[in-house]
Symmetry: D2
Subunit: 285 residues, 4 copies
Amino acid sequence: MLPGTTIPSGRDPAEGARATGASGSTASGRRIDLNADLGESFGAYRLGADEALLAVVSSANVACGFHASDPRVMERTVALCKAHGVAVGAHPGFPDLVGFGRRSLAASPSEVRADVIYQVGALRAFCDAHGVPLQHVKPHGALYNQACRDPALAEAVAAAVAAVDRRLLLYALPGSELAKAGERAGLTVKREGFADRGYRQDGSLVPRGEPGAIVEDPEEAGRRAARMVCEGRVTTREGADIAVAVDTICLHGDNPEALAIARAVRAHLAAAGVTVAAFSAPTST
Amino acid sequence: MLPGTTIPSGRDPAEGARATGASGSTASGRRIDLNADLGESFGAYRLGADEALLAVVSSANVACGFHASDPRVMERTVALCKAHGVAVGAHPGFPDLVGFGRRSLAASPSEVRADVIYQVGALRAFCDAHGVPLQHVKPHGALYNQACRDPALAEAVAAAVAAVDRRLLLYALPGSELAKAGERAGLTVKREGFADRGYRQDGSLVPRGEPGAIVEDPEEAGRRAARMVCEGRVTTREGADIAVAVDTICLHGDNPEALAIARAVRAHLAAAGVTVAAFSAPTST
Amino acid sequence: MLPGTTIPSGRDPAEGARATGASGSTASGRRIDLNADLGESFGAYRLGADEALLAVVSSANVACGFHASDPRVMERTVALCKAHGVAVGAHPGFPDLVGFGRRSLAASPSEVRADVIYQVGALRAFCDAHGVPLQHVKPHGALYNQACRDPALAEAVAAAVAAVDRRLLLYALPGSELAKAGERAGLTVKREGFADRGYRQDGSLVPRGEPGAIVEDPEEAGRRAARMVCEGRVTTREGADIAVAVDTICLHGDNPEALAIARAVRAHLAAAGVTVAAFSAPTST
Amino acid sequence: MLPGTTIPSGRDPAEGARATGASGSTASGRRIDLNADLGESFGAYRLGADEALLAVVSSANVACGFHASDPRVMERTVALCKAHGVAVGAHPGFPDLVGFGRRSLAASPSEVRADVIYQVGALRAFCDAHGVPLQHVKPHGALYNQACRDPALAEAVAAAVAAVDRRLLLYALPGSELAKAGERAGLTVKREGFADRGYRQDGSLVPRGEPGAIVEDPEEAGRRAARMVCEGRVTTREGADIAVAVDTICLHGDNPEALAIARAVRAHLAAAGVTVAAFSAPTST
């Protein structure tokens, strides 16, 4: 069910990409996964544009109740994903509902490990209840950021995912500590690109708050996404051209602008003949 | 892995027991499961006598983070159960940590269903991580009580367990709505008896607070447990003798008196030649 | 600062109202308080039409973090109320964020007492920080409903309010256990009417779900509100005419229809020459 | 009620102490406050040695429900403090119950401000209910540590305390950002010393985990405390002798060793003729 995609384990993901070509290529043409965060409502609170995003993405990162969501929202979201043919992934976060999991927390590796096992298991049970596979795990917010930088947390996340099910895919920033830890843990790591974020010379993202951090024009974001997938390249903030290897592109839907970008990315990929598909099923369309 | 034990589906569990004999009989002699609530610590807070109980019981009802416990406590508890050869069960409760899940809550069936799926899934992931099977589900506190009386909640619990994995055993008070719903859902229901509680003529428990609700003498509790298992009978508060069929006996460890009862029950069962064993493994000793 | 309004303590609030006339009369004309629930957002989640309601009501029931809201939302809401000249009240609820405090909970009187003291104190601190008085307390959702029916919970709520500050007003359904307990505790009770709810012959509300429970037409709701205030009378579901005494009318803003009713009530009151004003300040307009 | 103690505002607290002498001196002799964290139980969970500590300390830092405690525990703790003549302080922490408020959290100043106002207000309401003054505020755990180092968080805490009631005392590490921010906010800052911690040459504490961080011998801790109070001096890890000015000494009770130290400190102070007394009342003994 889950492909045994070989991930280049070179220390420089951009180099790896250049050597092997964009990993999304198939016999019949280019192929890419589009992912977005879904199921972030909670109790009486509604958040996000889930219905709209489900028509755009092939994979969903479903919140697991720590930084957002609750059990009923999770069940509803899994059912919606199934109905739309969108693959389900777990989106574990820090236990910080009031902060939406966006605040750095000095959690220990053993706390992170247990929190991830717990959340992944909870979401997987809803997948079982609805007869859909759990495809991947992508940490949320501050947990994602900390795990991308901190080797001990990265290893805790990767070990947690592997402990639940070694076939689960791990979505991670290419070249990050999280990606490396995932590979060391024997997981299949899917490299994540960002259509609406600026890149630096070394392939890392321009930090939010700095000039060039955000690509605001939907058309430009769409063009960048299509080029990442088809050419394996992206233009940096400084105007240089670097290699970037992506298996999945992250989209957002928490505001009308983000949704416009998501749709533009999908449209540009279609125009370029790229198939949008999750990893756990042939194609979503 | 899990035995396909056939549960008599008569409306009167005592009648059913009389017809079939105590369900714990084996070729080599009597056999019973002993269960207790474990893993109820939380963060910096320690609660319960887990180490002591692990030497007495064959199955553990492990709290899942809603009424007690947290992910690290859950992982530690599963590991402890494995080390002691004690079978692991999920002990889902209401989302009421400050009330320890003991307060009745007007949760809807869909809320109960989702809360149970969530908690069972979370605990099962720790079982997977440690290579032990998840044996059973037993609702906790107010959720147990409400599900024993309310058919809609009972059905929600049973459907949730079946949705996660139809092979999971459901522990329930014999004759209760929960037991009936479990059977309707196709689950194997394990009938629970209480060594330290008084019984009424109809086989139900004397409500807490009434005279005769609690059996305080460890020796008497031990004798009652052994007689339940070996003869399928118990003396009621009024002094009559009724049939009672039990597959598992619930013990407590939250105070020294409870622990003394637990040990006395185990000793009396041993003296009577009864094997204490969980359902998911041959014997625990 | 808070007026020592005498509340008729007759067991039938409608009778009391008939004898004394509508309590909202002043030397210069009719006067009524309009209240609504505000500040129900939480973390990244937005809920309610606070800005719109602030232009309509004279008093706000501000959520205190148990069933909704968080400390930053509370501070923001108090500041907004101050800016709009709207009096601030505490809106304590059950500790059930995922259920929005709408689910009945078997909390003990001592739990309710402590939960109310805690929440009222927390909100009062924001009032102190912004130099506005805390005017009143109105329990939320299931806590309000249970306290209106259960004398022990009613007494716990009233004792909690009195323990924090005996000058705090208590908003309650006339004739309810909560209103009675408030009077016994020496609090000034403000009788609450409902413009958008049907009444029964005994002055109680038609339960939600029954025919005639909800008044959906904004104009009709407006007429009913104006008549309650000016004539102290309301037409029951059965078409009879009963006396009803109100000091404050509850409005809602959680959907466009509710907001339309709120605005219609305000407009009808203005057309009838009724002054809309809180109790803690001369007038809000 | 609260004394207008002048706090030397020199940048080096040790210098200030040398110039003015130990601030605890009175006409009738030396005087010091002893404080400890109390009321850290939660729901069914018991934590700490409150009864034992109440016989030793003059001031209690009472947990406010975010990192520990719940409303009923808070009410019980305030009542216990009153019964023992121990002054009550608020001990606000991060909203991290599972982590006991010990994990650093990247909370913004506005989040910290609101969280502190909320918690201080909640505890003050229990003080009002029991007719005792709220004496002081001392941040807990990671919030204390971060506020001692980070000027923006320090200012947020100090502004929050001042916003609730400018007469509240702020307990802080001398020379810390928190102490400075408290003084700038017009609060009376009480300088806190540690009997069981090692000091460095600059008057800061030896970080936990390093050699010399903890003074384990109760007698030595008692001698150090008495010398701090009577001579305003302490021996550093390196063996040097430095000035240290303390208004209050922090004790612990979370294990038998800590309790032994607390008692030894009290005994040594008594032997040295030092009066143990809170700031809000003449003396506790």
